[in-house]
């Protein structure tokens, strides 16, 4: 109860700050914030996939690339309206997510990680090689969604997408599916023996998280205006993993906060060059070693521990008074 209300209060305050930020911040930080929403969507959906369901995938940024490229090519190559092209990209993510989910049913742990790493690399290499289609490393231009130079509309669109993704994932976790996913993570055999259709739910979690990653990629492509295969390189996946793990791999708000904090920190420490990533790698190892569930759940727990004595104290005060 204590932790729940704390978490809700924190989320409400942060949402209010995020909503009001464009009033105070300059165009640079609005731009940075709009990119942060991209990472927030990726980190939170990866936390659902890897943290809750135990499917440690390295292919998450590849799904973002799939969404971004599909939507851009739908407009540029097929001449579709932007809305239709986006829908097509999402359908493609559903099909691909289901396919990958079905292929990896028998794999777990390091094998799953290696498999998804290889799939992700193959996809990225195709994007590099098929220059006629994707313009390779030159970058594929993507039409914008809003007229005008301001990033404010994108900022609010990104924020809205993050909120919607969080609501959808929270709803999913509050149903029986959430329990099933955790049961699969803890012991797949036991889960199956208890009558859970593990095949169905593993594919489901791949589809749901692939769709959110693809939406993030679609948003990012149309916002930035150009896509290169570097959107799916391993260090990008590392960034998403670090964000989710540092914030809390088993906490959706933790992953979002982790993504925003890590990204804002790395932007504000630009003057320190690669030291930022040295720090991030170190933080990743240290958090995993000493606070495996991430920093946000730790703060949550700490506030609960503090809230209890204070509640007791007020009762005593009342008695004394």
């Amino acid at each position: 109860m204590g932790s729940l209300s704390f978490s809700r209060a924190v989320q409400a305050v942060l949402l209010a700050v995020a909503l009001l930020l464009p009033l105070a911040a300059g165009p640079y930080w609005i731009h940075v914030g709009a990119i942060a929403w991209y990472y927030a969507m990726l980190a939170a959906s990866w936390a659902l996939l890897a943290g809750f369901a135990g499917q440690f995938s390295f292919a998450h940024v590849a799904f973002a690339a799939l969404g971004g490229y599909a939507s851009a090519l739908g407009v540029g190559l097929l001449g579709l309206p932007v809305g239709v092209s986006m829908l097509l990209a999402i359908v493609l993510a559903i099909v691909t997510g289901a396919l990958i989910g079905a292929l990896v049913l028998r794999l777990s742990g390091p094998y799953l990680a290696l498999f998804t790493l290889a799939i992700s690399e193959i996809f990225r290499l195709i994007l590099v090689a098929e220059e006629d289609l994707t313009r390779g490393m030159l970058g594929l231009p993507v039409p914008g969604l809003f007229s005008g130079q301001s990033d404010v509309p994108y900022y609010y669109l990104g924020l809205g997408l993050v909120v919607m993704a969080m609501l959808a994932m929270n709803w999913l976790l509050s149903t029986r599916v959430g329990l099933f996913l955790r049961a699969i993570r803890e012991d797949e055999g036991a889960a199956r023996a208890s009558g859970i259709d593990t095949t169905r739910y593993k594919i489901l979690v791949f589809v749901v998280t692939a769709v959110i990653a693809a939406i993030a990629g679609i948003y990012y492509g149309h916002f930035i205006g150009i896509l290169t295969p570097n959107i799916a390189i391993l260090p990008e996946m590392g960034l998403v993993i670090a964000m989710a793990v540092i914030g809390g791999i088993e906490s959706l708000p933790g992953a979002v906060i982790g993504a925003v904090v890590v990204f804002l920190l790395s932007e504000s420490l630009r003057a320190y060059g690669e030291w930022r990533f040295v720090l991030m790698g170190l933080a990743l190892i240290l958090v995993q070693r000493f606070a495996q569930n991430g920093l946000y759940p730790m703060i949550e727990q700490w506030s609960r521990a503090r809230a209890k004595p204070r509640a007791a104290a007020t009762v005593e005060d009342r008695h004394a008074g």
């Binding site: 290696l114 290499l125 590099v128 995993q288």
Partner: protein
């Protein structure tokens, strides 16, 4: 014909280096049941260690390789004790994910530290031996020849060590069953540390051997690491012979693919994608790999 021979020999040299990287990875996997996602950064670190040992202390190049292996052995032991060892206690949940995250974190840490400390520009250590072996149509620079021969010596040495020495057999025993090994008085935790140290030393040795052939850069470990993942899955986890077969196969496919396919950009991308595709197909169709040992099969 001579073009083919040239490509094939170069592919073979690179393949043997890949095999050496993969043998370290597979040793760590078979004993600790951990896939080291930081293996490529240890390879890179080995290259730089030998560079600084040679240029700083004035060691002869081959001793620089030995020094790099010793340095990386110590590094591996310390990292295993500090970060991986807690995995075997009850304090760590979700052990598979823990191992992936800390070793992957090591890559982020070391690669970026190398960018800051060593700089982004390529460095080239001195040759083992200048000149080239010329035999008919074949021209093979001595650096490549020495790297290949040293890789073979290390691979044979590793096989003999694992089969013929008490420590090697203890490592093998732990790889087959922790519990049974503990029953006959082998301390599995000590073997984990030894295996991780040796695996790091093999990666470092490979990086040091390739350093005079290709230049050193902080990202030099990325490609060999992915190749090593492919090789250990293809050749079979825990098999040194499988590492050699897989390494040579990948080295040849890449050299010949880049040499013969018409469009160089596509050729480079698709020869790399081919390896990744082999990994995907192997995991789906034959998870024990081509030469995998049955007790190390996929769970």
């Amino acid at each position: 014909m001579s073009y083919f021979l040239l490509l094939a020999v170069n592919g073979l040299v690179v393949g043997l280096i890949y095999a050496l990287v993969a043998s370290g990875l597979t040793l760590v996997f078979s004993v600790l049941k951990v896939v080291n996602f930081g293996h490529g950064s240890l390879y890179m670190l080995g290259g730089y260690a030998s560079y600084y040992l040679i240029s700083g202390l004035g060691l002869p190049p081959l001793l620089g390789v030995v020094g790099a292996m010793v340095t990386l052995f110590v590094f591996g032991v310390v990292f295993e004790r500090l970060v991986i060892a807690p995995m075997y206690t009850d304090k760590v949940e979700r052990k598979d994910e823990y191992a992936i995250i800390v070793t992957f974190g090591l890559t982020i840490l070391i690669t970026n530290l190398a960018l800051v400390v060593f700089g982004p520009f390529a460095k080239s250590p001195p040759s083992f031996m200048t000149g080239a072996l010329i035999a008919g149509p074949l021209i093979l620079p001595y650096d490549r020849l020495i790297a290949a021969v040293a890789a073979v010596v290390l691979l044979v040495g590793l096989s003999l060590f694992l089969k013929r020495t008490a420590l090697g057999q203890a490592l093998d025993a732990v790889s087959q069953s922790r519990e049974s090994a503990a029953v006959i008085g082998i301390d599995p935790k000590r073997m984990y540390t030894v295996a991780f140290g040796l695996g790091s030393a093999l990666a470092g040795g490979a990086g040091a051997l390739i350093a005079p052939v290709f230049a050193l850069s902080p990202s030099m470990g990325d490609l060999p690491a992915v190749q090593a993942f492919i090789i250990i899955v293809l050749g079979g986890m825990g098999s040194v012979g499988g590492s050699v077969a897989g390494g040579v196969l990948l080295g040849l496919v890449q050299a010949l693919g880049v040499g013969y396919l018409p469009d160089p950009n596509r050729a480079l991308a698709y020869t790399q994608a081919f390896g990744a595709l082999l990994l995907v197909i192997t995991l789906l169709v034959r998870p024990t790999g081509l030469f995998g040992r049955p007790h190390l099969r996929l769970e």
